[in-house]
């Protein structure tokens, strides 16, 4: 994948423009002058323009992923803000939110500032999510107000669920001061116990310790009740079970401040795939049954689940090429995201391409409060060109992340990002 500075005058010519903000689809050109939108529709193309023929392709907003792990600071051997940016651009993402479970964790205004400063040199927009509690220890609130002033867009102790209900209540109450979402990795640690995969028929077959769906749904239910009680904004990450979808659907009727996300891997795989003990499928929360997978799809289709987020979680080969108990939880997901969700939601489930694009653009942007009118004149270009019909097989060559822990190798995907335009750069994927 090549990343280059974009030309002073760049024209994306003859594409199908999908504008998820205005909800319009039409044929036309996009003129980008000095990195900003100069015109959309029928353009009088300036003489010195660089022209990219987009006929048969889709031009739309750059994707936004509100849940990634870029491992900086601390584990730059797994990923950095720079390498993570490349992975993002390969997948069509122009904007991401990085989780704070770094080493040290992002639990002070100074550490938030560190990310903001480093992100300025990256070819995509990177927003830090701050920790809810100091050292993510679950006991002591961070300086959320000061962290917000430095640029934190949400708060989460991701990876370390807030077990103490009273602590969660305090965090939600305090977050109303900034009106930013609290994102709680919903897993009851006692119910999860030593579970390494979904507890069900397959875990029984494999003799692997099971993590029941109750570990998620019981915690989601608690958080939903606390959110309603406090009036705070709760965002439920990586929903994995039918039971949790059910709780969220019910609670959303009376509480519009609740939002939720789903990952490509929970939409794509079911626990049958773990039969070969593939540690790249070891993830938290676990890949669950086909029934759960179908419930997640239904949740996406009826709007219970607001957006797609990858939970891109890079790990070294050594962390994954080991026995199942010792293998780290998580998988990379930025590069394979669009091809996976387009295949499941559009090709298999009949969703429109326009609706799918919303799940990757305006919906996550709304949750984080980012501007969504990306085709407006004078707006910095944050666009992608997609070949939505391209069938392709995911392989190592498509990975731009520093880590390679993906379960999507050799899987047939549908829809490929061809160019990503962001921060004055363009990729040729």
């Amino acid at each position: 994948m090549k990343i280059e500075k974009i030309a002073d005058n760049l024209v994306l010519k003859n594409g199908t423009i999908i504008d998820p903000y205005l909800g319009k689809t039409y044929e036309g050109d996009v003129w980008i002058k000095n990195g900003k939108i100069a015109g959309v529709g029928n353009i009088n193309i300036p003489n010195d323009s660089t022209i990219i023929n987009c006929s048969g392709k889709t031009i739309t907003h750059g994707f936004c992923d509100i849940h990634v792990h870029f491992r900086e600071p601390g584990r730059e051997d797994k990923e950095s803000l720079q390498t993570g940016s490349r992975a993002a651009m390969a997948g069509g993402f122009t904007r991401v939110c990085v989780m704070p479970n770094t080493n040290p964790p992002l639990d002070t205004p100074e550490s938030i500032n560190f990310i903001i400063k480093k992100a300025e040199k990256c070819p995509i927009h990177i927003h830090p999510i701050g920790a809810v509690t100091k050292t993510q220890g679950g006991n002591d609130l961070t300086e959320m107000g000061l962290m917000h002033q430095e640029g934190a867009v949400a708060f989460s102790d991701d990876g370390l669920p807030i077990q103490d209900g009273a602590m969660m209540r305090i965090a939600l109450e305090y977050s109303t001061l900034m009106d930013l979402p609290i994102i709680n990795h919903a897993e009851d640690e006692c119910l999860r116990a030593e579970g390494v995969m979904h507890e069900g028929k397959i875990s029984t077959h494999l003799g692997l310790q099971g993590n029941p769906d109750l570990a998620e749904s019981a915690m989601v239910h608690r958080d939903l009740e606390l959110a309603e009680f406090t009036g705070a904004r709760l965002h439920v990450p990586h929903v994995s079970s039918e039971k949790a979808v059910h709780h969220i659907r019910k609670m959303k009727i009376n509480n519009e401040k609740v939002t939720a996300e789903v990952t490509p891997h929970h939409l794509f795989f079911n626990d049958e795939a773990l039969r070969c003990f593939n540690t790249n499928l070891k993830v938290a929360p676990p890949i669950r049954t086909e029934k759960d997978r179908k419930a997640l799809i239904e949740g996406v289709l009826d709007g219970t689940l607001d957006c797609i987020a990858t939970d891109h979680a890079p790990h070294t080969i050594e962390d994954k090429e080991t026995t199942f108990d010792l293998a780290s939880f998580g998988m990379i997901g930025l590069e394979s995201c669009f091809g996976a969700v387009k295949k499941v939601l559009v090709d298999e489930e009949g969703m429109t391409l326009e609706s799918l694009i919303k799940l990757l653009t305006v919906n996550p942007r709304n949750i984080m409060g980012f501007d969504s009118d990306l085709f407006g004149e004078g707006i910095e270009a944050e666009l992608i060109v997609v070949d939505s019909d391209q069938e392709w097989t995911f392989s190592r060559e498509h990975v731009q992340s520093r880590s390679i822990n993906s379960p999507f190798y050799n899987k047939g995907l549908s829809g490929k990002v061809i160019h990503t335009i962001s921060c004055g750069f363009i990729t040729n994927n």
């Binding site: 069900g200 875990s203 029984t204 494999l206 003799g207 090429e321 026995t323």
Partner: protein, 313 residues
């Protein structure tokens, strides 16, 4: 190769005819064990590593004896004396062993799937000697051989497995093997030690041991791990004995012949009374001898063919 699979990782999905071949071969080796000189040259020149990442006494001795009876060269490697404690990765350990040109690895490991992972790193034959709470296929084979010896068949037999099913690789391999061979299986134990999804494997579940005794042709009594006591899983040993123990009184009230098995080591007075274990109905020591014969058969069938003579006992 005389079996369809190169390795013996587990009995899930294992071909019935291959299980029968192993049992038939094991009976031939059993005859060798009754001779004054209990040794055949079948695996001369074959090098086998016993790779034990978890403590084991009887399984390891049984394998070692089987290897020696077959004239194989063996090396023992246990985690306590290995570089694992120095932080060497599983992959490095495996590749080091491979580099030393061995023909087969017998491995015990605390993690389900570890033998499968080993096959991805090495070319040698891998035999699973127990992987965590997953499978223990050689134990199930010796159990089936012992049942076959007693009943002359496996098809149609009614087998009860009693104890901590959730944490038992012996139970899981026995379930797979017995169902493949056409037996019926009922599991019995405290409800919290029976996996909630186990019925989907095709077994029955009961919490009433007396019902199971009444139903079964044979009972396989599992060791109740003392570590489980007091962890909220089993309230106490006396409670366990009262509810699930195979006591003499309990056996006496059922006026029927029933075969008693135990994979060992036993907790006498907890899951089984000493008088029951030593009684006429128990075949526990036959299991031990059949364990050596079964493992000889498995090693011979998977690693044999290198030697030109002494194949037949």
């Amino acid at each position: 190769m005389m079996l369809q699979h190169k390795h013996l990782l587990g009995l899930e999905g294992y071909p019935a005819e291959d299980i029968q071949t192993i049992i038939d071969t094991a009976f031939k080796f059993r005859e060798v064990l009754d001779r004054p000189i209990k040794k055949v040259p079948s695996l001369q020149g074959v090098t086998i590593v016993n790779l034990f990442f978890e403590n084991s006494t009887r399984t390891r001795i049984s394998f070692e004896l089987a290897q020696k009876r077959l004239s194989a060269d063996t090396v023992n490697f246990s985690a306590s004396s290995s570089s694992l404690k120095k932080g060497e990765s599983f992959k490095d350990t495996a590749q080091n062993i491979e580099a030393m040109k061995i023909d087969a690895v017998v491995m015990r490991h605390p993690t389900p799937g570890a033998p499968k992972l080993l096959t991805e790193f090495i070319d040698a034959v891998v035999i699973n000697a127990g992987d965590g709470t997953h499978e223990h296929p050689t134990q199930a084979i010796l159990d089936m051989m012992s049942l076959h010896e007693k009943f002359g068949k496996l098809k149609g037999l009614k087998i009860g497995i009693v104890g901590d099913i959730s944490h038992s690789r012996v139970a899981l391999s026995n379930i797979y093997g017995l169902l493949i061979m056409g037996a019926e299986v009922t599991l019995c134990g405290p409800p919290n030690l029976i996996p909630p999804f186990i019925k989907e494997l095709g077994v029955e579940v009961s919490t009433q041991i007396d019902e199971v005794i009444e139903w079964a042709d044979a009972l396989n009594v599992l060791r109740i791990q003392r570590e489980r006591m007091g962890l909220g899983l089993v309230p106490s040993t006396r409670e366990y004995r009262a509810m699930f123990g195979l006591t003499q009184e309990r056996l006496d009230t059922h006026k029927k012949e029933i075969v008693i098995m135990h994979p060992g080591p036993m907790n006498r007075g907890v899951e089984i009374d000493g008088t029951v274990a030593d009684g006429d109905q128990a075949i526990i020591l036959d299991q031990v001898l059949n364990g050596v014969a079964s493992r000889m058969a498995i090693l011979y069938l998977l690693c044999g063919g290198k030697s030109s003579e002494g194949d037949e006992s």
